[in-house]
Each structure stands twice: as C-alpha cells, then as structure tokens.
C-alpha cells in the first residue's frame, strides 16, 4: 500500500472542495469498515481520504412525525438502534443496523457508508428501499435528491459524481398501520455476507386485514440491490392471505438474477428469496398490526 493523504473537513463545503480537488482519486471516509479494508487489501486505491465524521450534518439523526427520519450519512449503526424514535418507528431499519457485522463493527459502520459502498449484498439498502428512502447528495454543482432504489448502478458503483458526497438519507414518516422487516440468510449466525436478503414494508388498512401498499427489495441476488416493484404492487388492495404473500414471493423470485459463487448457487438464492419474502412480509404484517 502506498502513502495516502488524509483530511478532516468541518463543513459540507470544505468536504466537497476536498473531494473535488482530487476527482476520482479522492475517497470519502465514514466508519471505514469497508474503505480501510479495501485500501489495505489493495482492492481500492486513493490519493486522498476525506474523513467526514467531523461534519455536523453527517452525524445527526433527526425525526419529525411529518417529514420523517433524517440520518446523517456517517452516523454509526449503534446510534440508530439506540435512538428511541428509530426503535419505535423504524424496526425494519433496526433489523439491518443491528445485524451488520458485529457489535464492534456497528460502533463504526454507517448506513451512508453501506449505501455508498454499493455492494450487492449490503444489508441496509433493502430496508431503505422498502421504506421509500431518498439520498441527499451535495457536490460542486449543488445538491440533488436520489431515491435509494436508483442509487446503485453496479457492484461497488453508484450515481455519485467525482466531488459529490452523500449528506444524509431521508426515510419518510411511517404511515398508520405500517410495518417493515429485513432478514438475510447466512450459513452462520453472525459475521457473514448475505447469501440472499429481503426487506419488506407493508401498509395495511385500519382493520389490519388488507394491504394498502407494499414495497419489497432484495440483496445479494443481482449486481445491485433490487427493488421488486411488481411484487410489492401485487399486494396493494388484496386481503392479507397466504396466497397473496405466496404470489408476491413468486414475483420477487422472478426479479432475482443471482450468480453462483462461493456464497451460494443461483438455485439456492432464488429459493431463499421466496423463503425470506414470505418471512419478512409476515413479520412486517405483525408489526403493522402492533402484534410485535
């Protein structure tokens, strides 16, 4: 590994300037649990590392019943699940934040880093997509908002232009009678990369017996996280039933385009998408009904 430069900007402007000064040879640093490993392992190289942890906007969690939740891009996972508003309103996000790596990793790893690293297996991205989240990005040419499902473009690639940073992620306020859940399948019980993962969010009607809407998203079964629009839409207006869930699971499996590698086979992964879609929908329904 060659020597790299390191800077710690205090404002968004400074951060963008620093990033822009080195173009694609600059890398933002949040928790570093992806970046440091990649730099040391020679899988990424950089001339300048820009540590974003001192920029206040990237370290905030704020919740408002109308505008929802804003998560600063560098906020570590443990602060999410320790936050009373998040715990009460976003159990689907807590599912992810509390299974990434281990306690030690969660002390550093951020949802912003998870999104910007853009791994197909990223565990925090499917629940963010299922919950309809939006990424707030700032760069030399100003700011823009990108729906999370449009953020990743390939393994380790995304829509960020040189000089741009992710400032925060906005997750809409949860509608009444809504619930979400994320599950991944790993052969062990921790410290593993998802063979497949599914995030589901549902909105039920007042009776709790019918779907108003649903969103489903997958991890580890395509070059990017997958938003299964058809699977979610298939539930809208239907009564909650095993058949409806089965149909959504089938549609989700159709959207899965996995590969066979050391972590799993195509067949296994598609099968798991079905299993996990059923399981996450059932948990999300229970949560929407206040049963959990």
């Amino acid at each position: 590994m060659e020597a790299v430069e390191f800077t710690t900007p205090k404002t968004i402007d400074e951060a963008v300037q620093a990033m822009a000064s080195k173009g694609d040879r600059a890398r933002a640093l949040a928790g570093g649990t992806d970046l440091l490993v990649q730099l040391r392992g020679g899988r990424r190289s950089a001339d300048l590392v820009v540590d974003l942890k001192d920029v206040p906007e990237l370290n905030e969690i704020s919740y408002n019943a109308s505008s929802g939740l804003t998560i600063g891009a560098a906020t570590p996972c443990y602060r999410l699940y320790a936050d009373a508003n998040v715990a009460a309103n976003y159990p689907g996000l807590v599912d992810s934040a509390s299974l990434i790596g281990s306690i030690q990793i969660q002390g550093r790893a951020s949802l912003g880093g998870n999104l910007c690293n853009s791994a197909p297996s990223a565990d925090a991205i499917p629940p963010m997509i299922a919950l309809g989240s939006v990424a707030n990005v700032v760069g030399p040419n100003g700011s823009r908002q990108i729906p999370v499902e449009d953020f990743c473009t390939g393994p380790g690639r995304n829509v960020l232009e040189p000089g741009e940073i992710l400032v925060s992620i906005n997750v809409p306020a949860p509608p009444a009678n809504s619930g979400a859940s994320y599950l991944r399948f790993i052969p062990r019980n921790e410290m593993d990369i998802a063979v497949a993962g599914v995030g589901s969010a549902v909105v039920l009607d007042g009776s709790g017996q019918n779907f108003v809407s649903a969103r489903i998203s997958l991890a580890s079964v395509a070059p990017t996280p997958v938003f299964c629009k058809a699977a979610g839409d298939s539930l809208a207006g239907k009564a909650v039933s095993d058949e409806a869930i089965e149909e959504a699971a089938r549609l989700a499996m159709e959207d899965a385009k996995p590969i066979t590698d050391m972590r799993g086979t195509i067949r296994q992964r598609i099968h798991l998408v079905g299993v996990l879609t059923r399981r996450t929908l059932n948990i999300a329904i229970q949560r929407a009904r206040g049963e959990e």
């Binding site: 052969p187 062990r188 410290m191 593993d192 099968h271 798991l272 299993v275």
Partner: protein, 754 residues
C-alpha cells in the same frame, strides 16, 4: 447448562488438579512475545511474491526493477536455494526429497498452486517491500490444474511432476503419475467375511479441503551472521523440526542453526512445516541484515497446509446379531502440490475402533494443484471416521439397532489386533460407550420435527517420540524446568504438574521455561497428542534424576550409605534414624555449600502408544426452508487416561468438537475453475463463531494408560475425529437423506432434501 464430568480411578496430589497456567499473566496482559513482536537492530521487512496461477510453467523471472527500487536490500528466487547449484549425483538418494522440499519453499520450474512462493524481497519497510514485489516480472505458461483426487487420478490428467512415479506397494510404476503412492493393509479373508454377513452396505464419500484456522499467521525472523551462525525466531510447533528442515534445504550444518520458538497462537498441526524460515534466512544472508517475513491471512489459507480433501468408499458386512464380519475401504487423499497426505494414518485409524476379522484398506496419496497438505489434529482420522461411522450409522438404522449397542458389540478392547498390526493394550473405548449409554443426553428423548441425533466414535494413536527436560534445583527449594516443547494448549502446566508430583513438591514450586534448540536436547513437535505424554515422561525422568542426586547429597551430608536414605513425598529421611530428616526445601538451601547445585536431565523416546478413543453425541435441528443446521446439544466423551489437568483436557475436547463442527457444516476451500481459492478470508471461510455453538458438555473417562507412569494417554487429537460423522448422521436423521459429502452446508442440505 453445561456439565463437565470426570470419572477418575486414581487420585494424586498435584496431577489431576486444575492449576493456574504459568504463562497466563503474560498472555492476558498482552506481554507474551509472539513472532510478529520480534524487533532487532537493523531489521528489514520481507514480502513474498506468490503465483496467481494454480498450475503454470515459470518461463522467466525478472527481478531487476525490484532490486533497483529505493529501500530494497535483497531479492531472492529459487535460484538462490542450494538445490539450484547441486547436481543429481551430489544429492544421490536424497535428490527427489530435497527437490520437493526446495521447490515447496520457492518454486523453480513450475508453480504448483495459487500462492506458491516465486520470489521474495527484503526492504526498509513493509510498504516498500509490497511495492517492490509488484515490480517483479514473471512470465508464466498457464497449465490446466488438477484440483481433486478424482481429476488427478484420471488417465489423461494434467501431471504436476513429470518425474513422480507411483510407489505401488513398494514398486515404482513405469509411467509418471499424480498418484504418489498406493498402500494397503489386509487382514483375514475379505471374501469369506462378506459371505458371512447378513447385511452388506457400500457407500461413497467426499470431503473438502479445510484449514486449521489458527489465529496467529505464520511469521519468521532470521539473521544470518557473517560467521555462518543462523538464528531464527518463529511461530512453530517444533523448533527442532524447523532446524532440521532449514539445515536440509539450505545445506547448512544443523549446529549452525538456532531456532527460538516464540509464543504460538495455535497450530493444530499446521505449524510444523518451515514455509517462511528458509526465505527469511536467504534474504538475511543476501542483505546482511535481520529480516522478518509475515503471512497475511490470505497467504495462510493459500500457502500453508490445509487438511486434505478426500474421496472414500466403505463397504461393511454385518451379521443380524450386529457383528462386523468384513470391511473393504478405499481412501484417496489429496496430498496437495507435493506427496505426503496422511492417508496412511487415515487407513490405520479407519477401523481402529472395532474388532474386524476380515478387512482390506487401500490408500492413495494423490498430488493436486492445491497447497501441500499439512497435519491437522488427528491427521487423516476424521475423514476416515466420517466414512466408516456413517456406514455403521446407516446399517444400525436399517437393522433397527441402537448405535451404541452396535458399537459395544464390536468395540476394540485389550488384545484386539488392529488391521495394520499392533495389538491393543488396556484401552477405554468400552468405558466411553458405557458412559455415553448412561449419559443424561443419550437417555433424553429427542423430540420435535426436523431434528436428529447422531453418535460416532473416533481413534488416535497418541505416539511418544523424543523429548528432553532439564530440572535444576534453586536454593529456595523451587526448581527450574527447561523444556523444548512449545506450549500450545497448557503444556507448561501439565508438564510442571508431573515434575511436581514426582518430586513431591508444590506445583507453584516448578517454574517451566520453553527454550531454543541450543539450550535443550532434541524434542519432537508439540503435536499428535504427544507432549503431555512424552515431555511429561521426560519431566518425570528428570525429576527422578534430581531425586537420585538429592538422596546422594543427603547421604553425603549425613555421612551414611545411599541405601539408608529414602525420598518420600518431598522429604528425605534416614531409614532407621528418625533424627535424620530434611524436606526438599531444607536440602535445596544446603546444596551450594555441600558440592554444588543439582540438575536432573533426561532424554526419552517412549515406545508404545497411548491409544485414545472418544464417542460423541449430537442433536441437531435443520431448517427445512433453508437447509441450515443448528447444533442443539453436544456431548463429548473421551478416555483421556489420567487427565493431568482436567480443565485443559476439557478445553481440548471442546476445541476439537468446535473445529469438527466447522468441518462438518461450513468450512471448505472454495476454488474457481482456474483453481484459485475464492474464500481466503475468515469472512468467507466459515469457521463457527461463538453464536453458532452450544456449550459443549464433556465426560472425561479415566482408564489409565499402562504405558505411562501416571497413565497419560494424550487428548488433543481424538475430539476432532467423531464430530464429522456424528453431525452427518444427525442431519441424515433430521432430513431423511444420507449426508455423504462435507461440508453439509445449507445449500448442500437443501439440495439433498429436494
């Protein structure tokens, strides 16, 4: 609730007690010195360039750019090894052995596995070394790899070594082959045994390459002084073995090589081969400076020694009464890039648990384009047990016979002759099986869907080999115990306990120290469950030597014949004069004024084996949707002979089980179709984490080994033998399909179910 039961026959004062380990404070405070901590004036950092290909001819190596890189002090390749300048005539009968050993350290004509060392650099810093290594230009002609025994045994398989001929039951084949050797054991009349059987079952098995997964990567620091003295500091199970290999490969006198073993973070058999030591030595000779070389975790996976993947067939014949009449076994083990798999040990262990009158075992040692295999706890035995015990389990299932009862009917006991020859002395398999049958775990019914229980037995030889110990008496009545056995699993304590027991002094009064190869007599590796047995024996003999000299000294002080002095429980006394009495401590204080200090010394090579057996019970539950196995409950029962330190025996048993669980469920070397390992990190090489394991219950059954003064058998190998089969059988019962391939990871179990 975990439980640890000890079933004892004999009690001692110090032996059998749970004492604190002497190295504990340094280890828990982080002060213990490991190989990576070595710091020397002028130390350079080394880095190895490794082959990206599993099989390739090396057409040229150009090191000029690396040599010119600022901060680089030396670059070495196979051309710097002694082998490059020795002729076939000079080496004579040693030619092929030295060639293989040299080529293993640094590839010459061919790279034989991904990660095979090609060249190495010594530089001012690790970063410079890493950059310089990238500047070495190697031209390869990539060849198709042979990755499994089945591929390598094909008639038209790609040949790893053009000059390797099969040693076929003693004769050499006329055509070169990837089969390095074929060995066979036979007893009785197989045909007749099959005819006597009422049930005959034949099954085929495969297991993947797995790694020991020790926490500390390999490391080595070497300094080759201008006077020819070569000093090495490293992490090894066997400093004397490193000394021999380095001397052999570098053609340097053994007496000019001193190896200092640093503390060791695990080995399990994988830290016996000298990988980095010859490279660090060459770099030091060339640069004139001390050089340290460390492996990364990826290098450990790709270029140290995994346990072999296997292909096995087992056919058993059994009567309706549940008596085994015949066994026909085929074992083909991957040797890795150079010959030397543990197929012989696998063959000798395969049927050791049972009294089988008619048997034939064929074993094949097959080279493949993977790193050369190394020992891993009970080398060869877990795989063989997986095959044999699985067939026994299926037969029991078919016959509706209790698997413990079946094993009791066939169990090896005193007087039974093993297929490869030796006759058992007193052993404890029957006692272990009875302990299983009486155990609360075995008696508790297993209820609920998708659950299954498995039982399996396992064997290891526990051989002695050479050890040396010196014990010198301090004026305060304590003793210094000097040994050559690296302490991996608490052997400082277990050896000190045996010395204390023999001397009749307190455990705390024995201070054990592990020293370098210049400072103690030849001592074989810490491995094969030999250390507490053989180095313990050396400690007993050295202590006896001390006792003899103490008696002589007392006799001299009392001016009485030696025969009148007795030494009982740490007290010297005159046999007839009750006035003449001294404790060990009282005499120790007088030694310097009465003829000088006392040092007892011993070199031992105990013959005979400690023969250990274990029987395990496991309950599993399989998720029918995902194929994922959860271990619900696990109990390991083992005959430890006398458990010198019961906590460390329990630790060995639990550790062996954990590694066995990993082997059974998820661990495997995963290669792409070019033979490159894809999962060379702990993230993707899935060893169990604490969250994947239940607490493992243990039962130590103490059937004293008649071949050791305190009845020690050795314990470290046996507990990794039964888990593969026990878990495989448990999963089979849970899902209703036999598991004949390991690892039984969720994907594989899902496939088996569908």
């Amino acid at each position: 609730m975990a439980s640890n039961i000890v079933l004892s026959e004999v009690e001692y004062n110090v032996v059998g007690k749970r004492h604190l380990r002497p190295d504990g404070v340094d280890k828990v405070t982080g002060r213990a010195q490991y190989g990576a901590d070595v710091q020397l004036t002028g130390l350079l950092q080394g880095k190895v360039l490794r082959s990206p290909h599993a099989h390739a001819r090396i057409k040229s190596i150009d090191t000029s750019a690396a040599e010119a890189y600022p901060g680089v002090h030396a670059v070495v390749t196979a051309a710097d090894l002694s082998f490059a300048s020795l002729s076939r005539e000079q080496l004579g009968g040693d030619y092929q052995r030295v060639k293989f050993a040299s080529n293993h350290v640094l590839a010459s004509e061919k790279a034989l596995f991904k990660g095979h060392p090609i060249a190495a650099v010594a530089a001012e810093s690790q970063h410079v070394a890493e950059e310089a290594v990238k500047l070495i230009k190697v031209e390869y002609e990539v060849l198709p790899p042979a990755m499994t025994v089945r591929q390598a045994m094909e008639p038209n398989a790609s040949l790893l070594h053009e000059d390797l001929f099969t040693s076929e039951l003693g004769e050499l084949s006329d055509k070169p082959s990837n089969v390095a050797s074929h060995m066979a054991f036979e007893t009785g009349d197989l045909e007749q045994g099959v005819q006597q059987a009422d049930v005959v079952l034949e099954r085929e098995f495969e297991t993947a390459s797995v790694h020991q997964g020790y926490i500390e990567p390999h490391n080595s620091t070497a300094f080759w002084n201008t006077d020819g003295q070569l000093n090495i500091w490293c992490s090894t199970q066997g400093p004397f073995v490193v000394r021999t290999s380095v001397a052999d490969i570098l053609r340097h006198p053994v007496s000019r090589v001193k190896v200092t073993p640093m503390e060791i973070g695990g080995g399990f058999g994988g830290k016996i081969t000298a990988y980095l030591e010859p490279i660090a030595a060459l770099l030091s000779r060339k640069s004139g400076r001390p050089v340290k070389v460390l492996m990364s975790r990826t290098e450990v996976f790709e270029a140290s020694g995994p346990a072999p993947g296997t292909w096995m067939k087992v056919k058993l014949g059994v009567t309706n009464e549940g008596k085994i009449t015949a066994a026909d076994i085929f074992l083909a083990f991957e040797a890795g890039a150079f010959p030397g798999s543990p197929v012989m040990q696998g063959a000798a262990c395969a049927l050791a648990c049972y009294d089988v009158p008619n048997a034939r075992i064929n074993g094949y040692d097959v080279v493949v384009n993977k790193p050369k295999t190394a020992a891993y706890r009970a080398p060869g035995s877990p795989q063989a047990a997986f095959a044999v015990e699985s067939v026994i389990d299926e037969i029991c299932e078919q016959m509706g016979m209790d698997p413990v009862e079946f094993r009791l009917r066939n169990a090896s006991r005193e007087g039974v002759r093993r297929v490869e020859g030796p006759v058992f002395r007193r052993i404890g398999l029957v006692e272990c099986l009875e302990a299983v049958r009486n155990h609360d775990h075995y008696k508790a019914p297993l209820e609920g869907p998708n659950r299954g229980r498995g039982v399996a037995a396992g064997f290891w030889f526990n051989r002695g080999f050479q050890s040396a110990v010196n014990i010198s008496v301090n004026p305060d009545g304590t003793v210094n115990l000097i040994e050559g056995s690296v302490d991996i699993g608490g052997s400082r304590a277990s050896i000190a306990q045996q010395a204390a027991e023999t001397l009749g002094i307190a455990y705390e009064d024995v201070k054990p120290t592990v020293v370098d190869t210049d400072s103690i007599g030849y001592t074989m590796v810490t491995g094969g469950s030999r250390t507490t047995f053989a180095t313990g024996w050396a400690a007993i003999e050295a202590a006896e030597d001390v006792k003899t000299q103490m008696v002589e000294r007392a006799a001299r002080i009392w001016d009485t014949p030696i025969e009148d002095v007795q030494y009982i429980d740490g007290v010297l006394s005159h046999k007839s004069d009750p006035e003449l009495r001294m404790t060990f401590r009282e005499l120790a204080r007088q030694l310097l004024g009465t003829g000088g200090g006392i040092t007892g010394a011993s070199n031992v090579d105990p013959s005979g084996e400690g023969n250990g057996f274990g029987v395990h019970i496991v309950d599993v539950e399989v998720d029918p949707d995902t194929g994922k196995t959860t271990i619900l409950r696990y109990t390991a029962v083992q005959d430890a002979g006398k458990a010198i330190h019961p906590s460390y025996v329990e630790g060995q048993m639990q550790g062996g089980v954990v590694q066995g669980i990993g082997w059974a469920l998820n661990e495997e070397y995963f290669f792409n179709d070019q033979g490159q390992m894809m999962n060379s990190s702990f993230l993707d090489y899935r060893m169990p984490t604490a969250l994947d394991l239940p607490m493992i219950d243990t039962v130590i059954v103490e059937v004293a080994n008649p071949g050791h003064p305190y009845g020690v058998r050795g314990v470290g190998e046996v507990p990794i033998v039964p888990p593969l089969a026990a878990i495989g059988s448990a999963i089979s019962h849970a899902v209703g399909q036999r598991i004949d391939r390991l690892p039984a990871n969720p994907g594989a179990v899902l496939e088996a179910m569908s």
